[in-house]
């Protein structure tokens, strides 16, 4: 049954990939056809391959120049947008700037502008207004990179911000604590009981990260098994229905504890006993 399902998914994805790839495949089919054959009846399977188109493209000097232009502009734009977008997101996420939510929304409105009509103002600004002496931004690569920023920077800010919001800030008070653990009296950020949301107390460091714990919390930590753990005898020391530490055995927190025998599992011990033991040593 399970095997069959896997095959079904595989088949489904092969079909979907075929649909995704087919237009790209068709582009390739057209690219290896001589111009004469273009208008013959279309065939899915390639019968002959005509590489001359590719040779022409590779040896075309002008086209190579265009490709270098594209590479420089897109790389430069990607670099600039990522850097500035990161800085802006950091500022929006970590600082309490006045009206920052409005600024955040305003950035994206720059991407909504219909591009066609903004070409003319940009052209006029680049040729006539933004100039220093004889230097204008027109026909320069840096000019193009900056113009592209108008559309790409807002997108970068909108996609980066949730990630930066998700990086935890440093703890508010002194001392290291394990992720998800709260200091006493710190009730902030605690999700309401039953509230849905990603689990916050999962510990990605598996308890390996440094921690400094208060003396008060030390008591809880004592419940962990310890190297010199020995089973505690309860039944056999019991003379007055009282434990060695003076606790009443009838109200033992663990209902199965009175069946403990020497050599039984150490984790069934009472933590308070262990503590007393250590203090007496």
């Amino acid at each position: 049954m399970r095997r069959q399902r896997t095959w079904l998914y595989l088949l489904f994805w092969i079909v979907v990939s075929f649909l995704t790839l087919f237009p790209i495949y068709w582009l390739f089919v057209i690219s290896v056809k001589p111009a004469v054959e273009l208008f013959s009846t279309p065939e899915i399977i390639l019968s002959s391959v005509y590489w001359k188109n590719y040779v022409d493209v590779i040896y075309d000097e002008t086209l190579r120049g265009y490709m270098v232009n594209s590479l420089i502009i897109s790389t430069g734009n990607a670099f600039l947008v990522t850097t500035l977008g990161f800085l802006a997101c950091y500022a929006l996420s970590r600082f309490n700037l006045g009206g920052k939510e409005s600024i955040f929304f305003w950035t994206i409105t720059n991407r909504m502008a219909p591009p066609a009509v903004f070409l003319l103002p940009l052209f006029l600004l680049l040729t006539q207004v933004y100039r220093i002496g004889d230097f204008t931004l027109l026909d320069t690569k840096i000019g193009m990179i900056l113009v592209y920023c108008t559309f790409n920077l807002p997108f970068a800010i909108w996609t980066l911000r949730p990630t930066i919001d998700g990086i935890p800030k440093e703890p508010r008070r002194g001392g290291l604590r394990r992720r998800g653990e709260r200091l006493d009296g710190d009730h902030r950020d605690r999700p309401a009981a039953g509230a849905a949301g990603p689990r916050r107390d999962a510990d990605p460091h598996l308890g390996l990260r440094l921690e400094r714990v208060s003396a008060r919390r030390d008591a809880d930590q004592l419940q962990r098994p310890h190297a010199d753990d020995r089973p505690v005898r309860i039944r056999h020391d019991d003379r007055h229905r009282m434990g060695r530490d003076g606790g009443d055995l009838d109200v033992h927190p663990d209902p199965g504890a009175d069946r403990l025998q020497p050599g039984s599992a150490p984790h069934r011990r009472r933590p308070d006993l262990r503590r007393r033991e250590r203090m007496m040593r």
Partner: protein, 291 residues
Amino acid sequence: MQSNRLGWILLAPTLVILFFFGVVPFLYVLWLSFHQWNPFALDPTIVYNGADNFRALVFDSGFLSSLGVTIAFVFFAVLSELIIGYLLAQAFLKEFPGKAFFRTIHTLPLIMAPIIVGSIWKLMTTPSIGIIPSLLDSWFGFDLNIGTSAVAAFTVTVVMDVWHWTPLVTLTLIAALVSLPADPFEQAQIDGANKRQIFWHITLPMIAPALLATVFIRLMDALRTVDEVLMLTGGGPGSATRYLGVHIFKEVFPKTNYGYGSAVSIIVLYLTIVSCWLLYVALIAPRNKKA
């Protein structure tokens, strides 16, 4: 708390670039929308004509029909992308061999420039070159001709948009679905909820923020589509696929009617900002405040 000055310094480069390349051109377009200007006409001076451009716009049947087809295009394209994207994202959550490979293939359309996507689909659907009309004709006897049939041209633009942008929806929804906690689903299953109930009452409300952010970005980009459609159909046949972006392009470049084009742009920008802002304020901002 660090001083706020550092925050403003970090934000400054972004604000400066967006001001000089976003706000200043916008103000120029706004100013131009109250003027009549055709730089290649007999009288190429810029003449102030008040709100005449906007008044003409309300009675311009070309603009109104283009608004109508744009809304239809955005509705069908974004809705299909969401449904298909969600189903594919769900399918990616299952375990099967070669998952990473299929995911890479599925992402390929995203990295293509819109102008290339437009030309690919033109090569596929133009009668006599394209494979799709030829196959449809030989298998079903159906004549697909995007040069003459308005419905066919409209459908092909929607299919093209779906092919190009569904991967974006899938990727965002995979990220949202993976981060969901398992507990509510287990509890619902224990309580005997069926698949439909789990979807409506648990999955959908929990992925709503991510879903809305995706709708937001897709809505914005679909409203300003130009290059793909211009390449594929050129806005035709007639004005069947003359979406607002294409309409503005044709008003500004072939007709060089800058004042009127600016007015249309301002209205489109206004409509986009208002609809996105409503969506943002109602559904996305409360979540940011809580986090």
